[in-house]
């Protein structure tokens, strides 16, 4: 079946297989920043923004994205012009293996879009569904607070 979506600002038409998850479709279409860590909605590695809200792509059927707006990390920044969150993750030492990083950054973006100056508790709450086994989360939380500070108007 055909799915019409906007991904990172571009209108796209994808061919989805019956019963295919949105995670599978996005990876097949080359959005490889969306990671597969459990396919059970538990690890957060496949976090994307759907109409600005952070969701797990493995728990959605591709068909549920029909007519909606998707953001993946590919849509945030480039190597020349990284998004402040991406830069803050680099500067704070929040990237170790990097497998959870795209999901973390998108959960953080959903938070900052709603709450531009979060406190530490709000950051912890917003990232609670994204598992990381490398960092101990400390530098990830610091990175989000650093980005918020840098992004302030």
């Amino acid at each position: 079946m055909q799915i019409h979506v906007e991904v990172n600002g571009r209108t796209q038409t994808f061919e989805a297989m019956p019963g295919e998850s949105l995670l599978s479709l996005l990876r097949r279409e080359g959005y490889l920043s969306v990671k597969r860590g459990c396919e059970e909605g538990d690890c957060g590695a496949c976090t994307i923004l759907l109409d600005g809200r952070s969701v797990r792509a493995c728990l959605l059927l591709a068909a549920q994205a029909e007519g909606r707006r998707i953001t993946t990390v590919e849509g945030l920044g480039s190597i020349e012009r990284p998004h402040p969150l991406q830069q803050a993750f680099v500067d704070a030492g929040a990237v170790q293996c990097g497998f959870c990083t795209p999901g973390m950054i998108l959960s953080a973006k959903a938070l900052l879009d709603e709450t531009p100056r979060p406190d530490e508790g709000q950051v912890r709450e917003a990232l609670d569904g994204n598992l990381c086994r490398c960092t101990g989360y400390k530098k990830i939380i610091e990175a989000v607070l650093l980005a918020a500070q840098r992004m302030k108007p």
Partner: protein
């Protein structure tokens, strides 16, 4: 080597080289490199904990349209080996073959398929008919060696490849014992003897990226494996062994990998992916599901650690007796060496005059244990540091003082270093650097020890809540002495940049960046001038890989030596260009500088040597092995609140002070410590495999096997305590593993401080805490 006065690149928090690309979500992992029309691999796991395969029929699966290969024990050669990615000959027993006619745990391999889609592959697995003769399983490690227990490895060809005790007919995968002095007499003469049995659970690394491997047949008949591994060179050797091919026919590439922690020191699925690609003639991608990762990959050895310590009333230490029963599960991967580490990374910390150490690793029909960050030291440190806490209380002294008094000091040795190696004798060494005293002092200050320890007001109950504070001291090692080897190659380019080629394996730790810093320090350039290529068996020199806390210390020294070799060649060319003596030329800011200040850029040196005169490639190459395994030291402090009504333990503050020698990159060293500590806290409080009576794991998902999330993180402080290790690159020792060993004893000691009960079985779940409180 002597300590330089100051560093330019070493010791600086240089940004991790791969971090910008990873933050952009660049396609750098195995799963991102799967080519179009690649086949999908799937593995059929055993439903039984212990069974013989009476018959297997794969014909229906083979006939399914879209199925390109089906493997099982009837069509794959039997080559006994180990999955443990260790140096050859491996200290782990050869008790494993790609597919066997017997299954030894729920999830053990029965067959594998490669098909055009995942759906077809799964249909093919369902079409495989297996007739099992179900056998009685061994599920309790304490029963495994009893006479009459079912024999798990009754195959006649299971064997050890180095001369070590191995008795599969008794389910004994390894045995170690060693004795120093006369412990029995010393215990008889001791004023105080304390004893305890400490139980640690089955637990897992849970890298967020599961094990995955892309196998591609190449046009020249070779196989390329792009795989998520910590040990690319061991993977090449072991896959060659399994497929009965020369290593020259296998090319292993490690891309970015999504965490390892020891789980990927195992050559776990590369053999199956390679065979499927070989049989089908097509690229095959094989990735474990999260459930398969839990059940069929590797775990931390669950242990029963018996510990007895003796001391005199005046606080003198008399003797120690450490008895380990380690559950290695269905296969003996790392069984011996993890057991050895229980002694070798814990006993030398204090100056015990009399020592006995025994360790048995037994087979059971449960998931397979393997290498996991801490590697046995984690389990034994729980026992040792808990009993040292008890001893301090018995003596009426501050537990920090007890450690300060008895900890090994600079220049001292321990008989254990010589007695305990990895299946053979160890290597004598004396301590070249220790910052433990400062770790204890700075850590105590950071947690406010003086204000809190023994202070009744601070401990005053608030309703059902009780506060407590606890600590522990730790050591680990840096590489396996006289065993581990790393190589490095470095060449100069026309613009004054260098290509650094290393076999060392960056699993997210940042070792590519650390090694570039070491090279840049020697060569007088910025870290951006060092282009790193790592972990490619066709391109880079050999390295044993990322394990045993070896990369910075060992591979770093190979890089330093290679860079010094290249620097000497640069000086020689520059000497001619500057009309100076080579020995007087310094390399700094991308230039070679003569004593008078006259200089020439490295770009100019490179162009001169490549194009103009006496043409040659300036390149340095070196290998390094270590004669020592210098221990990093650490002191950990935990502050907890225990809810006496619910049994819930909350860690409020945690301080880890660590002496890793020179922290080549302090930000990365902190990151290693924070990650290890949080993993350790999570392990201490909630991580545990639960099994059914038939030996099937009950909690094989993140929903049921809880690991810590952002909301669970306590206030976490890391203090790097610099020392200078003379045998390490620019004074560096290791940092990656030690941090995981502290939380279990530090938290247990803090719980005792809060509520007066000792928790000797981990994790410290509310149920266990309530039960302990009830027993009093």
């Amino acid at each position: 080597m002597t300590k330089p006065k100051s560093f330019r690149v070493v010791g600086k928090p240089v940004a991790k080289k791969d971090a910008p690309a990873l933050a952009l979500g660049a396609p750098l992992f195995c799963a991102d490199r799967v080519p179009p029309r690649c086949l999908v691999g799937r593995i059929l796991g055993s439903p039984h904990a212990h069974a013989r395969i009476r018959a297997i029929d794969i014909s229906a699966a083979e006939k399914l349209p879209g199925v390109h290969a089906v493997l099982c024990h009837t069509n794959v050669p039997r080559v006994m080996r180990t999955t443990a990615g260790q140096g050859a000959p491996e200290p782990s027993p050869y008790d494993f073959t790609t597919f066997d006619a017997k299954v030894r745990f729920v999830g053990d391999r029965v067959a594998a398929v490669a098909a055009e889609t995942a759906a077809i592959a799964e249909e093919a697995l369902r079409a495989i008919r297996v007739e099992y003769e179900v056998l009685e399983p061994v599920l309790d490690p304490r029963q495994a060696m009893k006479s009459g227990a079912p024999v798990i490895h009754d195959e006649p060809d299971a064997h050890a490849v180095i001369p070590v005790p191995y008795e599969p007919q008794r389910n004994l995968a390894s045995h170690v014992d060693t004795m120093v002095g006369e412990p029995d007499r010393a215990f008889r003469e001791a004023d105080i003897v304390l004893e305890g049995e400490f139980v640690t659970p089955y637990a897992q690394h849970t890298p967020i990226e599961t094990h995955c491997c892309l196998a591609e047949p190449l046009l020249d008949g070779r196989l390329r494996l792009t795989t998520s591994t910590q040990v690319p060179f061991h993977a090449r050797r072991i896959v060659a062994q399994a497929l009965e091919l020369p290593v020259s026919r296998i090319h292993v590439v490690k891309p970015r990998i999504g965490g390892g922690f020891g789980a990927k020191q195992e050559v776990l699925i590369e053999d199956v992916a390679a065979l499927l690609a070989q049989r089908s003639g097509r690229p095959v991608y094989l990735e474990l599901s999260r459930r398969e990762e839990f059940v069929s990959s590797r775990t931390r050895h669950s242990m029963v650690v018996g510990l007895k310590i003796g001391a005199q009333k005046n606080g003198e230490l008399a003797a120690v007796d450490l008895r380990v029963l380690s559950n290695t599960g269905a296969y003996g991967s790392h069984a011996l060496t993890v057991s050895c580490n229980c002694g070798s990374k814990v006993l030398p910390l204090y100056r015990w005059p009399h020592i006995r150490f025994t360790a048995d690793a037994v087979y059971t029909n449960l998931p397979v244990a393997g290498a996991y960050r801490g590697y046995g030291a984690t389990q034994a440190a729980f026992a040792m540091e808990s009993l040292m806490d008890e001893l301090a209380r018995r003596l009426g002294c501050d537990p920090i003082e007890l450690r300060l008094r008895h900890a090994i000091r600079k220049g001292e040795t321990s008989p254990i270093f010589r007695a305990l190696g990895e299946g053979s004798e160890g290597v004598e060494q004396s301590i070249g650097s220790t910052g433990l005293e400062r770790c204890l002092k700075l850590g105590a200050r950071a947690i406010g020890w003086k204000k809190k320890w023994g202070n009744a007001r601070w401990h005053a109950p608030q309703g059902a809540l009780r506060r407590g504070i606890g600590m522990c001291a730790l050591m680990q090692g840096s590489s396996i002495p006289q065993v581990d080897m790393g190589g490095a190659f470095l060449k100069l380019n026309e613009d004054g940049s260098f290509n650094l080629l290393v076999g060392a394996t960056d699993l997210g730790t940042g070792s590519d960046t650390v090694l570039a810093q070491v090279a840049a320090e020697v060569l007088g350039v910025n870290v951006e001038q060092i282009v790193v290529t790592s972990s490619d068996t066709d391109l880079t020199p050999f390295d044993v890989g990322a394990y045993a806390s070896s990369t910075t210390y060992l591979s770093g020294m190979a890089v330093r030596k290679a860079a010094e070799n290249a620097a000497a060649q640069i000086r020689k060319v520059a000497a001619r260009l500057l009309s100076a003596k080579a020995s007087e030329i310094r390399l700094e800011n991308g230039s070679a500088v003569a004593p008078g200040g006259k200089s020439v850029t490295l770009a100019r040196v490179a162009c001169h040597s490549l194009y103009e005169h006496d043409q040659h490639q300036i390149a340095g190459f070196a290998s390094h092995i270590s004669e020592k395994s210098p221990p990093p030291f650490s002191a950990h402090f935990a502050e907890v609140v225990v809810d006496t009504e619910t049994g819930l333990v909350k860690v409020e503050k945690y301080v880890a002070a660590v002496d890793c020698g020179t922290a080549i990159n302090p930000q990365l060293a902190e990151g290693q410590t924070e990650g290890a500590v949080l993993n350790g806290i999570s392990y201490a409080l909630c991580e545990e495999y639960l099994f059914t009576e038939q030996g099937r794991m009950r909690n094989d998902s993140f929903r049921e096997y809880k690991i810590f999330c952002t909301r669970d993180v306590p206030q976490l402080t890391t203090i790097l305590v610099p020392t200078y290790e003379p045998t390490g690159p620019f004074g560096a020792k290791s940092v990656s593993e030690i941090g995981i060993n502290g939380p279990m004893p530090a938290i247990s000691n803090a719980i005792f401080d809060a509520v007066g009960v000792r928790l000797r079985q981990a994790p410290f779940t509310p149920e266990r805490v309530l039960e302990a409180l009830r027993r009093g």
